[in-house]
């Protein structure tokens, strides 16, 4: 279902505001138990001093940062819950304003230390993978893009399969929480990877991109009040298909098939969070190892691409007032660690590593909570580098036909509403 997302969602914003009051006042009940209805909507503005960002004409200023969600939750009995959420977003050419089933599941909490979820489930990976779409939960207008690239959300966001999860109290040693899952990666063709393959020349029009994902997450709420440590791992076996165009220079006719498969593909992520009263400090590290085989026009011998990308960030936020929170983070993304040159001598300006292999980002944010359901964020990004052409991370050639400048300053103003 496609529609003019921005105009429509802006038009229904007043209805959502009124609706929240109505929904709260009138509890919807089924068989004596409440049916919860919740939703969110956000609209953002982006401006860059140079380099167009996230597939949009941000050097002229762009309102192409819109998303919304609507969910239902129903507790059938104490241990059994069902729910579903639809989600829609349009970020430049990403998302395309296409309403998608975000998650839909049955959740049976057999014991506190063991529960099961089945259906389309948001993937637990790091601190914020499963909540990255809910901007109202976060200090930032954009989460650190080195770990949570908004244009590559479809890579990790959910799986259709099942989870086993639980919380294990360790008495004086805190609590250990775990999740293990397996399922199919959603066949989402509205993200940055499919867009890039379809927008670049020569072109691959992706028709399918899915595969098995298996992963685990363990997090330890330590005896130190507010300190959380965790680790995640995911392996995936991608199966991609497409149709090739504009490959005549290599003797491949238009309409030839393309296929992508996995030799090895895994993600390791480690994270720490410390919260004390009004202060919160986060840190995450991710290593993504990707070795894929590409088959052009039914070739029997594949073309292999391999990369070892590494990224991390450190973030701090402080709530100055009930209505005001400020924060900053530094985020680093290396497209291929093996190609990082002169790493030992690089400065914070990244002069040692080529700009087409990294994106470094200093960010400052102020979040104003106008009401419990309405926030506004003003955020400045100071970026060095634009990443690799075969590992898109916010910077796309079609929107930058004259090439990339080394640095990008980005202003984001974003407002969000939730009920």
């Amino acid at each position: 279902m496609r529609f003019r997302l921005t105009t429509t969602l802006i038009a229904i914003l007043p209805l959502l505001a009124a609706g929240s009051l109505v929904l709260r006042a009138q509890e919807i009940k089924i068989a004596g138990r409440p049916l919860e209805v919740h939703g969110s909507f956000s609209q953002g503005f982006m401006y860059t001093n140079q380099n167009n960002y996230l597939t949009d004409n941000t050097t002229s200023g762009s309102f192409g940062l819109t998303d919304g969600s609507l969910n239902l939750n129903y507790q059938i009995f104490n241990k059994l819950r069902v729910g579903a959420q639809v989600y829609d977003r349009k970020i430049g050419a990403i998302g395309r304003g296409t309403v998608q089933l975000d998650w839909a599941l049955v959740d049976y909490r057999m014991k506190d230390w063991m529960g099961f979820r089945a259906g389309k489930v948001k993937t637990v990976l790091g601190l914020y993978n499963d909540t990255q779409d809910s901007e109202f939960l976060h200090t930032w207008a954009l989460l650190p893009q080195s770990i949570y690239p908004v244009d590559l959300r479809e890579s990790y966001i959910a799986h259709t399969g099942g989870d086993i999860y639980g919380d294990i109290p360790l008495k004086k040693l805190g609590t250990l929480s775990y999740t293990a899952y397996a399922g199919q990666r959603p066949n989402d063709l509205t993200g940055g990877y499919a867009y890039a393959l379809g927008a670049y020349v020569p072109t691959i029009h992706v028709t399918s991109y899915t595969g098995l994902q298996v992963g685990q997450d363990v997090r330890w709420a330590t005896p130190v009040s507010g300190l959380l440590l965790g680790a995640s791992h995911q392996s995936q076996d991608v199966n991609g298909k497409g149709i090739m165009f504009n490959w005549a220079v290599l003797g491949i006719p238009d309409g030839s098939p393309f296929r992508e498969g996995t030799v090895r593909d895994f993600t390791n992520q480690f994270y720490v969070q410390y919260q004390h009263r009004k202060l919160r400090i986060d840190g995450e590290y991710r290593r993504y190892w990707r070795n894929h085989s590409l088959y052009f026009n039914n070739a029997t011998t594949p073309f292999n691409i391999a990369s070892d990308s590494r990224s991390w960030y450190i973030a701090g936020a402080y709530r100055l007032h009930k209505r005001l929170e400020v924060g900053a983070y530094h985020s680093r993304y290396y497209a291929d660690w093996n190609q990082t040159h002169n790493f030992r001598v690089e400065t914070f300006t990244g002069s040692g590593d080529p700009p087409d292999n990294h994106i470094f980002d200093w960010t400052l944010t102020a979040r104003v909570d106008l009401a419990s359901y309405w926030n506004v964020k003003i955020e400045g990004h100071f970026m060095d580098g634009y990443g690799s052409p075969d590992s898109v991370h916010g910077f796309y050639q079609p929107q930058n036909p004259n090439g990339f400048q080394r640095t990008t300053n980005l202003l984001v103003v974003r407002t969000g509403f939730n009920f």
């Binding site: 919860e36 919740h38 969600s69 819950r81 729910g83 506190d112 109290p169 419990s372």
Partner: protein, 226 residues
Amino acid sequence: MAMRQAKILLVVIGLMTVATGNGPAWNIKVIANPSVKGDRVSIRELKNVYLGKASALSDGTPIEPVLARRGMAHEAFLKQCLDQSNEQLQLYYRGLVFSGKGSMPKEVNSDAEMVAYVARTRNAIGYVSADANTDGVRTLNIESPASRKLVTRIEPEYPDILRANRIGGVVRLEVTIAANGTVQAVEILGGNPILAEAAETAVRKWIYAPARSQTTLEVTIPFEAR
């Protein structure tokens, strides 16, 4: 002589006061539906239940937590039991809801509404102001580590050699108390090693009031050299 006896009495009273570890003054009451077993609940159990980490108390009693939307009792409960602000707690719940990992607890607008809902809902648990009318519900004692009642206290023996040399000091112990009230473990946290050994020997014989679960608290014992 009378002065010396008075001093000894003061020391003994001091030991008793420190050892019983009088708990915080609660300005809220935790209430429960009559179907909930037991007459007490610990801070850890309340935290686990209200943060969705547990769906039952430590004795296996299933629990439905009920949350107030606002009010003095709500603020006190958040501060004293959950160590969260209202904004932090709401964000936490919404994170669960929007990621599909959980649902919002039942919310009410007043003490009266809280009592009415808990009274009619099996396994429900909530909180109200200390002076609220709680007809139809049971009140649970909040078990914080500091509020575990000491029933039998054995005074530590002051080692003669240290007393003779006027060597005193404060001994700090971490005491683990089993649910039945016996002292399960003692760990020395600080103080003169000889005094600490004497304190540990005595504390291991102390008896506390029974509780729903094991608790750990810190005990401070002064040895006053005279």
